[in-house]
C-alpha cells in the first residue's frame, strides 16, 4: 500500500460507472452468473422477475462499466464476465485488512508488555 508505486492515470468517469453498476443486487447477480458461465440475455431474462428489456438495460449498464462483455452470436446476445475490476477492489481491501490485523496484534503486544 505504501510502496511508492507510480500511480497510473485513471479515467474517473470509468471508475464511477463501475461502482454505480455494482450498486444494484440484480446486476451483481448477473455479474456472478456470467463470470461462472457465459449466458445469453434471454437466458438471464428468464431468471429474474422483470422484463427482457429491463434485464437488457442492466446488462448494458454492466457492459458500459466493462464488468461484462457482450458478443453477438447469430440472433443471440451472449454475455460473459470480466472479473478484473472486482478483483482490484477485493485486493485493496485485503491489503488494508492485513495492515489492520498487524496493527491490532501490535497493540496487543504493547499492552501485554506493559503487564509484565
Amino acid at each position: 500500500m505504501y510502496n511508492h508505486v507510480v500511480v497510473s492515470h485513471l479515467d474517473d468517469a470509468e471508475i464511477d460507472r463501475i461502482f454505480h453498476a455494482l450498486a444494484d443486487a440484480t446486476r451483481r447477480d448477473i455479474v456472478t452468473r456470467v463470470l461462472r458461465q457465459e449466458e445469453s440475455i434471454s437466458q438471464l431474462a428468464r431468471r429474474y422477475d422483470m422484463s427482457f428489456a429491463a434485464v437488457q438495460k442492466h446488462v448494458a449498464v454492466l457492459a458500459r462499466a466493462s464488468l461484462v462483455v457482450k458478443q453477438r452470436s447469430g440472433r443471440e446476445q451472449l454475455v460473459h464476465g470480466n472479473p478484473e475490476v472486482l478483483h482490484k477492489a477485493a485486493r485493496l481491501l485485503d491489503e488494508y485488512e492485513q495492515i489492520w490485523r498487524h496493527r491490532a496484534d501490535a497493540i496487543g503486544d504493547i499492552l501485554s508488555e506493559e503487564d509484565e
Binding site: H4, F19, A23, H87, K88, A89, A104
Partner: protein, 162 residues
C-alpha cells in the same frame, strides 16, 4: 488473540476491524495518544512509523513518516476530526510530500475508532472509509502487482460481503 472480526464492504468502501484486549479502555486509548506507543504499531512491519508531531485534540494535526526497507521515506498526516477520551477518536489520514505538505493527489482515508469496555477488557472497533471512488481506485493501483489471476471463489467471497 486480538482481532476477532473484519468486514469489507466494497460498495460502501469501508473496512471494519474489531479487536479485543485484556486492558481497560484508558490503557488502550494510550496507544493512540502516546506518539511513542503509536509509532510502535502504526506502520506496516517493513515501514515503521515515526511521529514528529502528534497534536491529540479536536482539529489537531499529526505528522509522521514511514521508513521503507531501502530507506525511502513516505510522509503522512492526520487531522483529528472528533475526540472523546477514552471512547472515540476520528481522524483523516493522508499522504504528504517531502516537506510535509498535504499531497492532494493522493487518497485520504477516514478512520473512526471506538473503544468499549467489555468486562475487564476493551473492544476496539475501527472503521476505515475511503473518501471517494477515484481515491479507492488510486489505492488499488498502488497496491497492485502485475499479472493478476482470478479465482472464482474470490468473486463469490467479494459479492457475499454485501
Amino acid at each position: 488473540m486480538t482481532v476477532i472480526s473484519s468486514h469489507k464492504d466494497t460498495e460502501a468502501l469501508t473496512l471494519t476491524i474489531v479487536a479485543e484486549y485484556d486492558a481497560a479502555p484508558e490503557r488502550v486509548w494510550r496507544v493512540w495518544e502516546d506518539p511513542r506507543k503509536l509509532e510502535r504499531w502504526w506502520g506496516p512491519p517493513t515501514w515503521p512509523a515515526t511521529f514528529e508531531q502528534h497534536d491529540f485534540k479536536a482539529g489537531g494535526r499529526s505528522s509522521y513518516f514511514m521508513t521503507g526497507p531501502d530507506g525511502t521515506k513516505s510522509n503522512g498526516w492526520w487531522e483529528i476530526t472528533a475526540i472523546e477520551a477514552p471512547r472515540r477518536l476520528e481522524f483523516d489520514d493522508g499522504f504528504a510530500d517531502d516537506k510535509g505538505e498535504r499531497n492532494t493527489e493522493m487518497p485520504v482515508i477516514h478512520c473512526a475508532v471506538t473503544l468499549e469496555a467489555n468486562g475487564s477488557g476493551t473492544r476496539m472497533t475501527t472503521v476505515n472509509s475511503f473518501e471517494s471512488l477515484e481515491q479507492l481506485e488510486k489505492l488499488i493501483e498502488m497496491g497492485m502487482e502485475e499479472g493478476m489471476k482470478l479465482a472464482e471463489g474470490q468473486i463469490d467471497a467479494l459479492l457475499a460481503e454485501d
